[in-house]
Symmetry: C2
Subunit: 307 residues, 2 copies
């Protein structure tokens, strides 16, 4: 089944201890859709400027990603510059130029309307909600957000959360959203806000899913997927979006979303997140094979399973 994703398609200038790259193709929707493309058909809704041409478009098309919903407009694409020189786990932002993204008004192509899966990448919750409302027939909606929206746009974000099946955020965001330091208590607090499932990404320590709780957030089932200790983390940019793409892509590829499928989806999320870090930008995600993905899946199983 196909996934529609709305989010940023951008250029990133990234410096890490491994080096520096100027204007890599990036953005949450790019990482997400490349990662998900190894499992299912993906359709993108985004906006780009005149600096986004045939070469960039072909990155999506090579992976059978539908770019009908990528709007081309006058001006420059979203640009971000950041570095990870002191801490590979946290980017230091130097420049954020929203450019054409500042006036983004997502439009959903008719050909996208039969998507059964919708992913709302990390953008203004007002836009997330607008897209959600225009796709009333989707079967499963997942989304991401970040500290900025949690802190300064809470009412709009809470509206989005009410309609989410799965929220994927990191530890800091979960704690901030629930207002408590303890991870279990934070999970309960977040689940009480609406999402049927919560995936908390722990970076190099993997991720935990909480699902099946009651309306007060109690009684959730918990499953934890590992992350691979990597020899060389070249560039952690987009690891979380790649996790989401692997996770949601696998979910969408399965006829039923059983608890066992959710567990495997968590592993596939971790696998795609780990690949993303191995090279700059989306370089590694562009060149994967399903065989490599499944080999790493098995490695993760060996890494954590008793028998």
């Amino acid at each position: 089944m196909s996934i529609t994703v709305v989010g940023s398609v951008a250029y990133d200038t990234i410096e890490t201890p491994a080096g520096k790259r100027e204007r890599c193709l990036g953005g949450a929707a790019t990482y997400f859709s490349l990662a998900a493309s190894y499992f299912t058909n993906v359709r993108v809704i985004a906006v780009v400027g005149e600096d986004f041409g045939k070469r960039q478009e072909s990155v999506f098309q090579t992976h059978n990603i539908d770019t009908t919903g990528i709007e081309h407009t006058a001006g420059k694409s979203f640009f971000w510059e950041g570095s990870y020189l002191d801490n590979l786990n946290e980017a230091k932002t130097h420049i954020t130029d929203l450019n054409v993204f500042a006036t983004f008004d997502p439009k959903i192509p008719d050909s996208y309307r039969d998507s059964e899966f919708l992913f709302l990448a990390n953008i203004d919750p007002v836009l997330q909600r607008r897209v959600r409302e225009q796709m009333p027939d989707v079967k499963i909606v997942a989304g991401d957000t970040m500290n900025y929206w949690i802190k300064d746009h809470r009412p709009a974000l809470l509206e989005v959360l009410k309609g989410l099946d799965i929220l994927l955020i990191n530890d800091t965001e979960a704690r901030m959203l629930a207002g408590t330091e303890n991870l279990l208590q934070a999970a309960r607090g977040v689940l009480a806000l609406g999402p049927k499932a919560l995936v908390v990404k722990h970076g190099e320590y993997g991720a935990t899913i909480f699902h099946g709780a009651n309306s007060k957030g109690n009684g959730a089932e918990i499953f934890r997927a590992p992350a691979l200790p990597l020899e060389d983390v070249v560039d952690p940019t987009g690891a979380g979006d790649s996790f989401a793409g692997g996770f949601f892509g696998y979910l969408a590829s399965q006829p039923e979303q059983t608890p066992a499928v959710f567990r495997r989806a968590m592993f596939y999320g971790s696998v795609l997140g780990s690949f993303a870090c191995e090279r700059f930008g989306t370089e590694r995600l562009q060149q994967l094979s399903r065989k490599e993905i499944d080999e790493r899946f098995n490695l993760f199983r060996e890494l954590t399973h008793l028998d």
Copy 2:
């Protein structure tokens, strides 16, 4: 098979968001031996002052822990006071009174000499080495250390590491010891210093073991055990020592130390570490049953296993 452990037996005054307790029975050797006592016989080498009486001794004896090697001397026992008010993952030390521990010269009772397992808890590496040399016939030696010894007593510590089968430390210590931020590179660096296996404890994210590397630290097998997300972390003091006790206690209880046994030992370490946090000091470790331990072991398996 029995374990001899050398380390501190102390009193701790601890403040956490859950409250404050004055002069709990603590110390690395206490946490370690209580945790290990659920799996095998444990023999303690430590020094205490006149404030350590029959009541404290009975805590050990109730768990069949041999206290022959606990030396009683004039003065007060080791005392530590700390708090975790801002951060449950890191203690803020207010008082460290070494007291009788300042002149500790470990003596090994003859009745301990047939122990096949030796654990060198976190004490001066000069003392760790002295104990190791007095027990030449042990089969497996494991040890712990901390930032203070790594930074300021490196030559003595390096001598200890050469003779260790298993080193158990946390992320920060592993990175500091190897002088690199990347966990895999740090593991390789530490293994090249001598230990045959390295267990890196990640606090609430579990622990990773690296073993079977060559003499340059390359080619290690890796296994990661989860930690349970806990609803109420009452007091994290001693969680690492309890991990070590569960891990080494289980190892010592098995006829052979196969890779499968190492994996299960990692799980038991995580299980004992998680119990330790549920109440102040060693309260929870004093009142466990093997049934509770195995139930949590199974919970950990469910929490991380695909099938």
